[in-house]
């Protein structure tokens, strides 16, 4: 059977059970779009290609499935780069299809030609330029396989226009077998036995988890381990939700804006079981003073993460879920009982840290941004899917919204991409139509991809945007206040649009609160409205995120409220 490349692509999408594609058409992909509209796949027309990638990313994070994008060549392709790099840093499985000029024009500086495979080599897990129509089915199958297996990540497939147009014999591709790509899932049993022994003996253990636990679906196993072995748990930004945020063993987030008790516990623990993390500088602060008394166990599927930033006593390469499952089997609770009393002291210290410096803010007659997030948490019972932009809004969401389940906190952790939250919310809402999806935003970052409000309205995704509006690029301003003698160089965003009118202009609902007593009513109205809403909260302009560890300092040296 002879099919065009575009038809083969549709077959490949069907094989991968793709139900949604986020995209933006253009000359080089007209043929693909011409086939796409004949399928049942839902196409979400974004307003900027960056939005397409973030939306696919949000879709992937809440559904656990591969997010798919389709864009045209040249600027369409380059506009995806920030989105791809964001997904790459956070290990999110995406397949991004870009159009390319016809093969005979490649290298000729043709209209809308760009070497997107060259551009995205360092920020994709892998990428392809398809040069023969008959290779297409195999390449797409490999792309999905690579994106979702091992440590997940984005894969880009560049398809020249003639490759989509030409016909080739189609046979369903065989299962993927790449001699050069075989991720190791099964952790080393001997290493795990050593870890189990350490857990049994430790007096001051701490479990530190990251996005890997969520990606491998290991949350239940983590809860079991922590409870069984009575170990307190902290998480990186990417790990929030992996462990219930209201559990007594939960210490809160670690790192630059981590809780006092989590950072102090890291400084004092004698064993750190780190799972699915990569010891980012925002977590460790000064690396040679990080967890100085601890033996560090590092469980991760990506060997490059291990010993990249911190020395590790026991490395375990493998899938987080398999590793935690096996650890749960290995740990002898009989041995543990004697230890429970010995650990009493450890939990008493943690309790003390918790009481001396809890997450807090000083309520005044202006709206405190933390208060808005607290109210949001209260009104949604912690059940909302929360996406964020980047900066103070992101940190307040991380600190004051407590996630009891994984795949609900959607944030650009590694790359820190402003403009991520709104399109990611749209993607998340499409993956979970019945969920309440809230984008916690700042007045700066929301303007980076505000055009996607049109997408939200067109797709009838009833997302809620909560703008913590301080008329500043707040996080940079905070650094300027604390470390640059209050020289607010270019961080004042005085000339912002009227977000209520802007919402209305897009056909969404706009609401505003300027006083603390209005916050709850606005949130309620916004949440109850079955349509996209922008809620503009005029918050205390110079509020800072605390605790804060100055860049490069030990994480136990925090600036506090």
């Amino acid at each position: 059977m002879k099919l065009t490349g575009a038809q083969i692509l549709m077959k490949a999408f069907a094989d991968e059970k793709v139900d949604t594609i986020f995209g933006y058409p253009g000359g080089a992909v007209i043929d693909i779009y011409d086939e796409l509209i004949k399928t049942d796949i839902r196409h979400v027309l974004v307003r900027h290609e960056q939005g397409a990638v973030h939306a696919a990313d949000g879709y992937a994070r809440v559904s656990g499935r591969v997010g798919v994008c389709l864009v045209t060549s040249g600027p369409g392709a380059t506009n995806t780069v920030t989105g791809i790099a964001s997904a790459y840093m956070d290990s999110i499985p995406l397949v991004v299809i870009t159009g390319q000029v016809p093969t005979h024009l490649i290298g000729n500086d043709a209209f809308q030609e760009v070497d997107i495979v060259g551009i995205t080599r360092p920020c994709t897990k892998h990428n392809y330029l398809v040069k023969r129509t008959e290779d297409l089915a195999t390449v797409i199958k490999q792309a999905f396989h690579i994106a979702r297996s091992g440590r997940p990540g984005p894969v880009l497939v560049d398809i020249p226009k003639d490759i989509a147009n030409n016909k080739a014999a189609y046979t369903p591709p065989p299962p993927v077998d790449l001699p050069s790509y075989r991720p190791n899932y099964r952790p080393n049993q001997k290493q795990l036995q050593r870890v189990a022994k350490l857990i049994e003996r430790a007096e001051r253990p701490l479990v530190f988890v990251g996005g890997g636990v969520i990606l491998s679906g290991a949350s239940q196993d983590l809860v079991e381990l922590a409870r069984k072995a009575q170990m307190p748990v902290t998480a990186s930004l990417m790990g929030l939700g992996a462990f219930p945020g209201t559990d007594p063993l939960w210490l809160g987030m670690i790192g630059m804006h981590g809780t006092y008790r989590a950072n102090m516990a890291a400084g004092a623990c004698d064993l750190m079981i780190s799972v699915g993390v990569r010891f980012d500088d925002r977590v460790t602060g000064k690396t040679d003073t990080f967890a100085p008394q601890a033996k560090i166990v590092h469980i991760d599927i990506d060997p490059t993460s291990i010993r990249k930033n911190v020395p590790v006593a026991i490395p375990v390469v493998g899938d987080c879920k398999l590793a935690l499952e096996q650890l749960n089997q290995l740990i002898d609770t009989q041995q543990m009982e004697g230890l429970a009393t010995r650990r009493k002291k450890w939990f008493a210290r943690i309790e003390h840290w918790k009481n001396t410096n809890p997450l807090a803010y000083r309520q005044k007659d202006t709206i405190k941004p933390q208060f808005v997030i607290e109210k949001l948490f209260e009104l949604t019972h912690g059940d909302a899917i929360v996406t964020t932009e980047v900066g103070q809004n992101q940190m307040w969401a991380a600190q004051f919204y407590h996630f009891n389940a994984p795949n609900r906190f959607v944030t650009s952790g590694g790359l820190g991409t402003m403009g991520f939250g709104l399109p990611a919310a749209i993607g998340a809402q499409i993956a979970c139509p019945d969920a309440l999806v809230v984008d916690v935003a700042g007045d700066g970052s929301i303007q980076m991809n505000i055009q996607e409000m049109a997408t939200a309205v067109q797709c009838q995704t009833p997302i809620k945007v909560v703008i913590l509006n301080n008329c500043y690029l707040g996080m940079v301003r905070q650094w300027q206040e604390l470390f640059y003698d209050r020289r607010y160089a270019c961080t004042c965003m005085d000339c912002a649009p009227d977000f209520v009118k802007l919402a209305e202009a897009y056909g969404a609902l706009g609401l505003r609160a300027t006083r603390p007593e209005e916050v709850e009513a606005v949130l309620r109205k916004g949440i109850e409205t079955p349509a996209p809403v922008i809620m503009d909260f005029a918050v205390d302009r110079e509020e800072c995120v605390y605790p804060m560890v100055p860049a490069g300092a030990p994480i136990t040296e925090m600036l506090l409220v």
């Binding site: 080599r121 360092p122 897990k125 690579i146 790449l178 050069s180 990506d302 060997p303 490059t304 010993r307």
Partner: protein
């Protein structure tokens, strides 16, 4: 930590862009490349890339792991040390004035080089050997005046077990 020379040898898929992935990884992560050699193996689907890099122990570990992580890299080995044979080839264009010609040919003989091009004012010598041999040869030729040099950078193979 002390930087040492390491010689990495890897088998990679012989597909377009693979060299760029490898080299891009070095530049993107600020790893160093002293020399690089690449050619097809007996299997046309596989190429061998040999890279010499200077790095301390943790970076060497990262280089190996990061290269292994590339989807197109099948296998990588650190061939540093006596378990592997290493050879490099060089073409050296040396000035050959009348009073030096005989001396150069004597050196050629001692170092088992070949003269591959002769002119009234120069010889081009072909030499293979390990790092030490090439360095010694260049030292001897320098006083005559080396006009140009092209070196391949080392390639290496593990010795077979006896």
């Amino acid at each position: 930590m002390k930087e040492e020379k390491h010689i990495f040898s890897m088998l990679v898929d012989n597909v377009p862009g693979v060299l760029s992935r490898v080299v891009g990884l070095f530049s993107g992560r600020d790893f160093n490349i002293d020399s690089l050699c690449v050619a097809e193996t007996l299997d046309p689907e596989v190429s061998r890339i040999t890279i010499v890099s200077r790095a301390d122990a943790p970076i060497v570990e990262q280089i190996e792991k990061q290269l292994n992580k590339l989807v197109n890299v099948r296998k990588i080995r650190d061939l540093t040390g006596p378990k592997a044979v290493k050879r490099e080839m060089a073409l050296i264009c040396v000035k050959a004035k009348a009073q030096h010609r005989a001396e150069i040919l004597r050196i050629v003989d001692i170092f088992r080089c070949k003269v591959v091009d002769v002119g009234p004012g120069h010889y081009i010598l072909e030499v293979t050997g390990d790092e030490g041999k090439l360095a010694a040869l260049l030292n001897l030729l320098k006083p005559m005046g080396i006009k140009k040099i092209a070196r391949t950078g080392p390639i290496a193979l593990f010795r077979e077990p006896n």
